[in-house]
């Protein structure tokens, strides 16, 4: 199984590496705000994971981690090929949402 931390790290760092290009591709302030919000959500999920421990044997965590692993591969394509910006933001949102669900499984 992939590590939960490494998957959340990959989502965050993939967005980090392309955030300048992605923001430049935005045509409206709404798009920029939506993209920034997803970036912040990915960053929050990553730091939540750093600062807490996971129930690594929790089946939900295992499933979400595997799901995020697959989504991260898609995310690389989304941000590299950079299609229509609204579609790209929507795809990013899907991946970040899975990351947020995973981070929510953190031990309180």
């Amino acid at each position: 199984m992939q590590s939960s931390l490494s998957e959340l790290e990959e989502t965050y760092i993939t967005l980090q590496a392309k955030i300048g290009v992605l923001l430049a591709a935005c045509q409206t302030q709404d798009q920029r705000d939506a993209l920034s919000a997803q970036y912040v959500a990915a960053r929050t999920a990553y730091w939540s994971c750093i600062n807490k421990a996971f129930h690594d044997d929790d089946p939900t965590v295992v499933a979400l981690t595997n799901q995020l692993d697959a989504s991260n591969k898609q995310l690389q394509t989304y941000v590299t090929e950079l299609g229509e910006i609204n579609t790209t933001i929507a795809n990013i949102t899907q991946v970040v949402t899975i990351g947020a669900q995973l981070a929510a499984k953190v031990i309180p």
Binding site: S6, I13, A17, S36, I50, A53
Partner: protein
């Protein structure tokens, strides 16, 4: 807490102190003082390098905080108090670990005075301080479920403190052996977190550097200086084509440097992990009156110093500025 700057020159003094300590501590348990000396040298060097390793990670986190503030200006990405608190929490945990490593070094030093009555009190106080710091560390929830490792450290320290107070050298040595093993296991368990902290730092800094370069917001003067220096001339680059050419080369250099920074930390972590394991093994052999494998060279900690030294001069004295809490500046063009 303030973390003491890295001071490699103090190492030799610590090594001598620790040799005396372990020679004293293990004298009843060891047939050859060479084994005790070897274990003592490694204990001191490893504890010091561990402090340096954590100090460097602390700087990585302090710089990460500052980089997020740069992002506010460069991209308009919000960095609010809650986000700052997440990084501050991680930093506090790293500082606790640095404090434990530093106390371990001090404990070794204070043990040298065990033979004198006042000094015995010093050693006991030092062990007690270490015990308190480990308890603080154990109370934290940060970093992958370290409870079993913290329990080992706490138990071992309790045994060390009692043994020192009762002047039972063999028991103190065995307690130290358990502590060394616990420290090794704690570090090994948290390695993925340590490496991730460095990875994210390198990713943010390199990404911002590339953005600054591609936006033409860096000064290429230094790049061209090498051609003009011999003739006492100063470059004044105004040609956009030259600036572009410089930016392309510099972007590649940023990529190469970023990869090197990650590799450097991975090498440091690997050396640190190996040294902790070897230290634990050696102390265990000495504490249990078993001979060491002859002529096994100690794991070199040069990789740790090489990586950590990159952060010694840039450590901010305090946490950086109250960050911008809202998205400012570049609200898009």
């Amino acid at each position: 807490m303030s973390i003491r700057p890295i001071a490699p020159r103090r190492r030799s003094a610590h090594a001598i102190a620790a040799i005396l300590f372990l020679a004293c501590c293990f004298s009843s348990a060891c047939k050859t003082s060479d084994d005790a000396a070897a274990a003592a040298t490694q204990l001191t060097a490893t504890a010091q390098s561990l402090t340096d390793y954590y100090s460097a990670l602390d700087t990585v986190l302090a710089n990460t905080d500052r980089l997020n503030s740069v992002q506010v200006v460069l991209y308009g990405i919000p960095y609010d108090d809650a986000a700052k608190a997440q990084i501050a929490d991680a930093r506090a945990e790293i500082q606790k670990r640095a404090a434990v490593a530093e106390s371990l070094t001090n404990l070794a030093q204070n043990f040298t005075k065990l033979t004198g009555s006042t000094a015995a009190t010093d050693a006991s106080a030092s062990a007690g301080k270490l015990e308190d710091e480990v308890k603080t560390l154990g109370a934290s929830k940060t970093f992958a479920s370290s409870s079993p490792e913290m329990a080992v450290l706490n138990d071992a320290l309790g045994a060390i403190v009692s043994a020192i107070q009762e002047k039972k050298e063999r028991d103190a040595a065995k307690g130290m052996s358990k502590f060394a093993q616990g420290l090794d296991e704690l570090f090994a368990k948290e390695v993925p977190v340590y490496e991730s902290l460095n990875t994210q730092y390198v990713a943010i800094s390199s990404s911002l550097a590339v953005t600054m370069l591609t936006k033409g917001q860096t000064d290429p003067t230094g790049f061209f200086t090498v051609a003009l220096n011999p003739y006492a001339l100063t470059p004044e680059v105004t040609d956009p084509a030259l600036k572009d050419g410089f930016a392309k080369i510099a972007v590649n250099q940023v990529g190469e440097k970023a990869a090197a920074l990650n590799k450097s930390q991975q090498d440091a972590t690997e050396s640190m992990e190996q040294s902790l394991k070897q230290m634990a093994r050696r102390i265990d052999l000495v504490a249990n009156d078993k001979p060491m494998q002859a002529s096994t060279a100690p794991v070199t900690l040069a990789n740790v110093e090489k990586w950590a030294s990159q952060f010694t001069s840039s450590t901010p004295a305090t946490s950086p500025a109250k960050a911008a809490t809202t998205s400012t500046a570049t609200k898009a063009k």
